[in-house]
């Protein structure tokens, strides 16, 4: 009888111990959940596709190197197809049922802004990959973003124009969200910098010929330089029409078309135009000693080796988003949401693919306009000007 009790006790202790060991190891291996909703298919797939590929690739790489805080990362992602309302429901699913620790996603401004109220209410750190300035201005407690805003692009372009002595600008912009927001920012920045927009015309996304609008700019007295704010195929058509009309004024494009596919579409008509772009386009021209040089070169090499397609600026936003999240998790030492948020806000001097991030309570983007490099098209390729 004594023996039985003893045996039972031993067995019970054994089970408890075993259970304890199990829960402990389960706890140690409990992954940190990174949630994401991206426009992987649909009209904005050129954003979401490289973003998802980047996230998948680096989550895998981080896990091979032992994860973060000794725990592996788990990427939970949904495809919002560029649709803001589905982005919102996916954000809700990530928060409520997947219970993720941090969200890195939102390819478009629409998708991001649709999910912001949910994120703010739930109190979960959210790093957006979308461009417009409204995402972080005014500052929202839980929302951060990695791409430069269109305001910075406008500042960078107008600065370069001013340096070259141009103060009277002809503006042609798309009527889509990107072009319209870019146009507003350009008008504001120009006023602040004492420059004048003497011609202001637009085109819609489905237009196939912008000769009429450009003729108006050409016939406006005093135009010294022309800026086109837009993305998609529109700017490529504008560039070609510009060339056909024989317009010789200095021509600028926005960061919206800073990609090799734009060069392919616009062909030799693009010669000589300037735009603000990511150093990713000119990895070899970045001077030695620039802290971004190695990061940009490695990202480009790793992405292209893994996926067999050329790297894009947009994937770079996802790279920075993930790395900022990892940095913040490590600095916070836990997945406590408030601590991670505070750590994100405190990030200083993180050098990423897009630029150097210096976050602060008033700045949840952390980049300055100089993170844009002014590039010029020379002989069908990008050349770093500044």
């Amino acid at each position: 009888m004594g023996m039985t009790i003893l045996r039972r006790m031993a067995a019970a202790t054994g089970i408890t111990l075993l259970a304890a060991v199990f829960t402990m190891s389960a706890h140690a291996a409990d992954p940190i959940k990174i949630g994401s909703f991206l426009s992987v298919t649909g009209p904005a797939s050129f954003l979401g596709d490289p973003e998802l590929k980047t996230l998948e690739m680096y989550v895998e790489q981080i896990n091979e190197n032992g994860g973060v805080l000794g725990r592996p990362l788990e990427l939970i992602h949904y495809d919002d197809q560029g649709n803001a309302s589905s982005a919102r429901s996916f954000a809700s699913r990530l928060i409520r049922s997947d219970r993720v620790d941090i969200i890195v996603g939102g390819s478009t401004t629409g998708a991001t802004m649709a999910s912001v109220p949910l994120v703010e209410q739930a109190g979960i750190p959210f790093i957006s990959l979308a461009g417009a300035v409204v995402i972080t201005d005014p500052v929202k407690k839980w929302v951060f973003k990695t791409p430069q805003s269109d305001r910075m692009a406008a500042e960078r372009i107008l600065e370069d124009m001013k340096d070259r002595g141009f103060t009277k600008i002809g503006l042609i912009s798309g009527t889509g969200g990107f072009g319209a927001s870019g146009r507003t920012q350009t008008l504001n920045v120009a006023k602040r910098m004492g420059m004048e927009i003497v011609a202001d015309v637009t085109y819609s996304g489905s237009d196939t010929d912008m000769t009429a609008q450009l003729t108006n700019i050409r016939n406006t007295k005093g135009v010294e330089a022309v800026l086109n704010f837009g993305f998609g195929q529109g700017p490529a058509i504008v560039t070609r029409n510009y060339d056909q009309l024989g317009m010789k004024l200095p021509f600028y494009q926005s960061h919206g078309v800073a990609s090799d596919s734009f060069l392919r579409l616009a062909g030799k008509a693009a010669e000589g135009l300037r735009l603000p772009g990511s150093p990713l386009l000119v990895p070899e021209s970045i001077p030695e000693g620039d802290p971004q040089k190695n990061i940009v070169r490695n990202y480009k090499a790793e992405y292209e080796a893994k996926w067999g397609q050329s790297v894009s600026t947009f994937g770079g936003y996802a790279y920075d988003g993930l790395m900022l999240a990892v940095n913040a998790l490590e600095a916070a030492g836990s997945t406590d949401k408030a601590a991670v948020r505070d750590a994100l806000e405190g990030i200083q001097g993180y050098v990423g693919v897009t630029g150097e991030f210096n976050m602060s309570p008033d700045d949840h983007n952390g980049l300055d306009p100089d993170s844009f490099r002014i590039l010029e098209v020379v002989n069908g390729g990008w050349v770093l000007i500044d």
Partner: protein, 291 residues
């Protein structure tokens, strides 16, 4: 001043000629079956995209274009055989909805096959634009206008001089009577889809150097073409050409002289006006229902 006007006119005529070619495709099928074929834009897309991929295979441009146009024609026949013909007893509205479904299907296939990127087709001839009285014209615009004219003349001859053309016209006027005199109406319908798809393919190839091409180019150009056909009066060949040119020129003039913001608004107000005062369009046939 005059050079400005001329510039807007050139721009408008080029876009307009494109719309006219697309509108003609709508007109053909509408005439033969009273169906508005919303997959017309997809023929356009196939013409452009197939040219790009045949050229990527290393085929010379003329051969690539011919194959692409033929492929587009084949698509038209397949569409009629496998989507329209099985539902021949259905009423016109059902058939129109079938064409919308087919267009989504074709676009989806194209997206899988060719990806989502925009592609360039080189100009048929020199890249150097032509300068006339201070205005500039892309050489490709001449190709669009020239090929557009040839196609229109060929269509007129086809419908007035050939037996098959007359059979199509007869079917459009009275299906039962045509059947009684021995016209195979299903065959005629297939023919209408074939010609219309060939037309769409040609339009797609000639405008691709100007507009670029991608899997979804058919949506926007197809809709504008439909609008042009509606202005001209659905079913009228002359109407399609005039409607297309009008739409293009009004768009360009509005963008040039008024504001580019209101360009589309002006074009659409024009449609409202035309259809309000002439519900059958500019050249629409007066239909008398016999009881």
């Amino acid at each position: 001043m005059f050079s400005e006007f001329l510039q807007f006119l050139f721009t408008g005529v080029t876009i307009g000629a494109t719309y006219a070619l697309i509108a003609l495709g709508f007109t053909l099928i509408y005439n033969a079956s009273h169906v508005i074929n919303f997959a017309q834009g997809e023929f356009l897309m196939i013409g452009g995209m197939a040219t790009v991929s045949f050229m990527a295979l290393g085929l010379p441009m003329p051969l690539a274009i011919t194959l692409a146009v033929l492929l587009s024609g084949l698509m038209g026949v397949l569409l009629q055989r496998f989507a329209i013909a099985p539902a021949k007893k259905a009423d016109v509205v059902t058939l129109i909805i079938i064409t919308i479904g087919a267009s989504i299907f074709i676009r989806g296939l194209a997206q899988l096959l060719w990806g989502k990127q925009y592609h360039v087709v080189p100009n048929f001839s020199s890249d150097e634009p032509i300068r006339i009285l201070g205005a500039v014209m892309n050489t490709q615009s001449l190709w669009v206008l020239g090929i557009g004219t040839v196609v229109v003349v060929a269509l007129v001859l086809f419908f007035t001089r050939t037996m098959i053309g007359k059979a199509i016209l007869a079917t459009s006027m009275n299906k039962q009577a045509s059947r009684l005199v021995g016209i195979k109406t299903q065959f005629v319908l297939m023919l209408a889809f074939l010609v219309s798809a060939l037309l769409g393919g040609i339009a797609g190839v000639v405008v691709a150097p100007i507009t670029f091409t991608s899997y979804d180019i058919g949506i926007m150009l197809g809709l504008k073409g439909f609008v042009a056909a509606a202005i001209g009066g659905l079913g009228s060949g002359v109407g399609a050409v005039v409607g297309g040119l009008c739409l293009g020129i009004v768009e360009a003039m509005a963008a040039g002289y008024l504001s580019s913001d209101y360009k589309d608004a002006v074009a659409f107000s024009m449609i409202l006006l035309v259809l309000f005062f002439m519900p059958r369009g500019l050249f629409g046939a007066k239909v008398v229902e016999r009881v």
